[in-house]
Structure formats: C-alpha cells, structure tokens
Amino acid sequence: MADRLLRRQVRLVEHLTSSAGIFGAVRGLSNDPELHGLDLALHLEARFSHEKRMQKIEWVLTQTLELLGHRREAMIRDFVEACPPTGISWLGNARQFHAFLKARWRHEPPVPAHLPDIAAYEIAYATVRAGERLGPAGVAEAPAGTIRCHPAAVLLCCAHDIRPLLEGRAGNDTPARRETLLAVTMLPGTDEPQVSELSRDLFEMLEMLDRFIDPSIFHDMPDAGMLIQNLAAGGLIEVHP
C-alpha cells in the first residue's frame, strides 16, 4: 500500500509538472485510471502551479524574460519539459531557468546577443540581495587583518556594456559590445545591492582574493592601505576581524 501511494503521488506530480499537463489539451491527459475523469481539475492545478513557478522566476529574471520576446513561450515550454521544479525557492527556480538558457546558448546563439549578460546580472543581483555568501565557510582560523574578496559580492565579466540598460537610459539602443567588468555588492545597513564597474586590474585582484591573505603582499602598490579600506567600505573586500 505504502509504495502504491508513493507511485500514485509521483505519477500525479510528474503529470502536473509536465508540458502536456500544463499546456496540453485538457481531455485524456492523465493515463492514471485512479485519476480518471479529473482532466480539467488536473489541468487547472498544473496551470496554477506553473504560473506560480514562473512568477518566482520572473521576479528574478524580469528583463531576461522580456528580452526573450516572441521566443519566450516556446522557450518556457522547452524549459518545463527539461527542468521540472525541484524546490520552492524563487532564486532556486530562477537559477534552474538560467542554467537551462546557458545550456541552450551553447548550441544556439542568444538573441539578443547581450541576453547572457543581462541574465547573469539578474541572477547575481538576486543572489546578493538574498544575502547568500559565496565564499568558503570555516575561516575562523585566518589571522586578524587578512583580507579576501567579500563572499557576499559577485563579480561579473560581461561581453557588453549593459550599464545603460540597468540604469534605464538605454532607450532603444543595443548595448555596445565591450568587455565590462562589474561587481554587485551589498553595503552594510542597506537592502538593495549596488552595482559598480571595475578596472581590469581591480577585477583580477579581487578574483585572486578567493581566500584570506596577508594584505602586505600589496606593499609595492601606492596607497594600498587606503585602497583596501575603500574596497572594504564598498563591500568588495572582507577584512578578517
């Protein structure tokens, strides 16, 4: 009995999360005799659940979904088929959709070309906003005063200058193809992440700081102390207390 119930539950959830269950014709969708006659109700249940999931994804990937334009519907149908929901988190579902898009872009060029930059930025923004720390845990033993790239900051290497789009001043212009290095950080005491453009030198330095190191290695850099202080104030560097 126990296994039978789980099998029924699995069949039901598989049906409700399937492309056929959500988008298909209403009649005859469920092959389960125990769900016979419930096609309309199951179709509604599948649709409501799908809409709820897509709402979560849209909260995070708002511009990405907008930029998909007329391809959006087909893309979502393929996504549903390829990536059934595995959790209720809005960020988790958005990451699933982002991973799906990235896999698609490996064999199909993204349209528009700057879409991968926008999607990566939106995931980074949501990650920082959620307060997720990306660095390794268990660093209590690091000596006081050592520094590392702040684990709550995300570094982004974009192929296009998407800043005008993010700042709402792009109009109908397409972002220029130009390497743009961005950092998404959360300043202490604030609720919304901050986005800043970095020089290549600074970007590479922060990438290198993936663990706590002694800041004295920068002794030959002019005003290194001031720079570290400013980066820490900007949420880019964490100084071990």
Binding site: L35, E45, P84, T86
Partner: protein, 294 residues
C-alpha cells in the same frame, strides 16, 4: 463546549510578509500576533531573517510551515524538522502548524498543496509522522485543512473525518482555514457546517482567514473560487468562523494576505472586522489567550 464565561478572546493578527515589514512595524499596535512562515527563516534573505528575529519580544509570534509535505509517502526530512524546532524556540512560538497535504515527491517539488486520498491507510501514515514531529519539537503541532481543485476518487473519509482521526490519535490540534473550507464547500458542493460539526470540540487552536477570487475560464463548466489571499475576507467565511466558535476556542486568528499587498487599508479593515466580531468579548478571569510579549 467552551462557555461564554471562560472563553478567552483570540489574539488577532496577520501573516508577516517582508514587503510589508515597515508598514507592519508602524501598525504593530493594531495586532496581537504575527504569524511567521518558518521556511522564510530558513531560506529567506539575510535581511528577511534579521527582520523576523527582530520581532521577537515586540509582539507574540506564531509559526506556520509550508515546506514539510507531511503527506508525501516517503520518510520525513528530519534535518528540516530539527531546523524548524530550533527556529520555533528562537521565535518563542506557542505552536507550529502545517498543511495536511503533500507538495513534492522525490526529485520534484510542485510548490503547491495537493490533497491526499482520504483513506484510513493514509491517515495511519500521517499519524506516524505527526508523532515523530511531536517528539522533536517543543510546542503543540497543528494541522491545517487545505483547499483543493481535484479529489482522489478512492477517498473513503470526509475531510473532517480524516482530520479528526489524525488529531484524535496524536493529540495534534487543528489550524482551521475558514477560507479553504468555504472554497471547498462551494467548489465541491458539500456542507461546510457539517464539516465543522464533524471536528471534535476544542481541537481548533488557530484560524486562518483570507479572501480569494472567482475564476471564470472558458474551460470551466461553472465558476471556481480560488484561494489567492488577495482580497477582503468574504462574510460567508466569517459566518463559518462564528459557527466554529460555538465549539472551539482558538487562540489566534491570522489574516493571510499574499497578493495586492499595496491595498493595506483592506488589511486593516479586515483586522478591524475580526476585532469587532471576536475580540470585544469580556474576559472575567485571566488575560488574552496569547499575551502580548515583551
């Protein structure tokens, strides 16, 4: 049956929602209790978690879960239950409620509440899980009635019989969602008062109220009421709550609102309606059922 003389007034409040954090704090004196969604303490942003725990001591908090999926016929996620137990202690919550439903199976999570076949065998499985949960948490466990669109055809018990059986065997209480009861009765054509009559007296410990929408769809043979937590509480649902009060003395009534959050006046109006209806009862002995914290 609780007599008028000994009945304590229920605490009245709302479900805490992060987008309304500032507004909630400004209006804190209007509420006796806030309901915290425990899963937001686990997976919410750092700022959300900080905001929730900052409320401890400012107002009574009660605890509600959405991620247990007690009805999935697979082992309970004990790590999840233990994490909840720690949060319950931190919130000083008087009870922990979850839905009598399932939301996921191994590998897939629908993120929506699904009904269980209402059979004695299913009840036995849920009973075992309730006992496990009760052994790992320090506060009473409550089960909530859900709203559902479809029903399993092999169900042999009524909604009230399934809930009553589980509660009788485990001592668990009931979180009565009167909106869910109202919607199910309307959508599936059963008598909601018979449901209330079927629950053992004094088992309803907390109440949810909310307002939904009517769905008109070309596919539908008739209109369908949907539990969207987006509109004022219908008067018919409050009539059900009036009736429930004859045999139960719930300690908290929580207004759930998840959509159209900008309509804060509607939220305050609903709270005022609840207060006018259930709160003015004089208490000859003792204070409110859920005393203000701090």
């Amino acid at each position: 049956m609780p007599s008028e003389a000994c009945r304590l007034r229920p605490a009245i409040g709302i479900g805490y929602r992060r987008p309304l954090d500032e507004w909630t704090r400004v209006n804190l004196a209007r509420f006796d209790v806030l309901e915290i969604t425990l899963d937001h303490c686990l997976t919410g942003s750092e700022a959300t978690r900080a905001a929730i725990f900052d409320l401890v001591g400012q107002i009574s908090l009660t605890a509600h879960g959405i991620g247990l999926s007690i009805g999935t016929n697979a082992p309970l996620d004990l790590a999840y239950v233990d994490e909840l137990a720690a949060i319950l202690d931190r919130l000083k919550a008087p009870a922990y409620s979850e839905h009598l439903a399932f939301t996921r199976v191994p590998g897939r999570d629908l993120g929506n509440l699904l009904p269980l076949p209402r059979t004695r065998a299913v009840a036995e499985q849920v009973i075992a899980k309730v006992r496990t949960i009760q052994s790992r948490i320090s506060v009473p466990f409550l089960l909530e009635n859900i709203t559902y669109i479809f029903d399993w055809q092999d169900s042999e018990l009524s909604d009230a019989e399934l809930l009553s059986l589980i509660c009788a065997e485990t001592g668990a209480g009931i979180l009565l969602d009167v909106e869910n009861l109202y919607l199910n009765a309307t959508n599936h054509g059963f008598d909601p008062y018979a449901f209330l009559d079927g629950l053992p007296a004094n088992t309803v410990k907390e109440v949810h109220v909310a307002g939904g929408v009517t769905l008109l769809d070309d596919l539908l043979p008739r209109r369908l009421f949907q539990d969207t937590h987006s509109h004022p509480v219908p008067e018919a649902a409050l009539d059900l709550l009036d009736y429930a009060f004859k045999r139960h003395a719930p300690q908290a009534i929580v207004l759930e609102r998840d959509d159209r959050l900008e309509a804060v006046d509607e939220i305050l109006d609903d709270v005022a309606r609840l207060r006018a209806r259930y709160s003015p009862i004089e208490v000859p002995h003792g204070g409110p059922a859920v005393a203000a914290a701090g």
